[in-house]
């Protein structure tokens, strides 16, 4: 493997880690917000 490939691999690890972290975080946040909204809708339906 050439030196340039090692540099590319190192920066790819960094970018992949940031993207993976943000993706997992985004999925968790959207699921939580969706469930919160569902709870609020159920509450509104129950009140009507």
């Amino acid at each position: 493997m050439q030196a340039g490939s090692y540099v590319a691999a190192a920066y790819l690890v960094f970018v992949a880690a940031v993207v993976a972290y943000l993706t997992i975080l985004g999925m968790r946040l959207s699921r939580t917000h969706r469930e919160l909204r569902m709870l609020e809708h159920h509450e509104d339906d129950r009140r009507r």
């Binding site: 540099v7 190192a10 920066y11 968790r28 919160l36 709870l39 609020e40 129950r46």
Partner: protein, 233 residues
């Protein structure tokens, strides 16, 4: 989360995105090629700032844990927990980028008789026990208290460990910063500073986003526990 918090998060995310992009541009288009190591030295621009941020994060987590023990406010414990969690992720990247550099420079993925590498691994493994220990305790208050004590003790170990390694004579790991090594020329120093700033900003952004996610999850748990008729977001 208020509109002000949301705006602050958006600004922080944009700033860290721009800072990371600018730092990468400096690494690949501005920083000169190292006369000794050649192009593989460019790995240090990401590896070293991330190592500094990971270790700084562990120390910050200890300070946040002290705040929790002083005040009893659970928010400090959550902040300490998120800091350790994020520093562990950063530490994984440090170990991986370090291994890639070691393979390119030394011909080995890992060198067991190198104090810098082994001490960092020991610290990483120590912090890997934090989450299992924390979540093995069911009572929330005891969990926060024990986790804080762990964070403080482990956090105190970080600078001690760093100093012990610095004082060790038999090392082959290069010193990027210090009185005897790493006298970088101006362009390299500027690039390194930009990379460090970008990684710090990225860490703060991810930390804030993670705290927001934790806050939303806590609100959801509270809403689920409330009797019907009292659910509010």
């Amino acid at each position: 989360m208020t509109d002000g918090d949301r705006r602050r998060l958006v600004h922080l995310s944009l700033a860290s995105g721009v800072a990371v992009a600018a730092a990468l541009m400096l690494v690949f288009f501005y920083a000169p090629r190292d006369a000794d190591q050649g192009v593989i030295q460019k790995i240090f621009y990401i590896h070293v700032p991330m190592a500094i941020v990971a270790l700084g994060g562990f120390i910050a987590a200890a300070a946040l844990a002290v705040q929790y023990l002083r005040t009893g406010d659970r928010r400090w414990d959550v902040r300490s927990y998120v800091t350790i969690h994020l520093s562990l992720v950063v530490a994984v990247v440090v170990l991986m980028t370090g291994s890639i550099w070691a393979r390119a420079s030394w011909g080995h993925w890992w060198v067991w008789n190198e104090p810098t590498l082994v001490s960092f691994l020991i610290m990483f493994l120590l912090y890997c026990t934090y989450q299992p220990m924390r979540f093995a305790i069911e009572d929330a208050e005891r969990q926060a208290r024990y986790a804080s004590v762990f964070a403080i003790l482990a956090g105190a170990f970080v600078p001690l460990n760093f100093l012990a390694v610095r004082l060790a004579q038999a090392y082959t790991h290069p010193r990027v910063l210090g009185p005897t090594g790493g006298s970088m020329p101006g362009a390299m120093r500027l690039t390194f500073a930009a990379c460090l700033g970008a990684v710090v900003l990225l860490y703060v952004t991810l930390w804030s986003l993670e705290l927001t996610a934790k806050d939303a999850a806590a609100r959801l748990r509270r809403a689920r526990r409330q009797p019907p008729g009292l659910v509010t977001s």
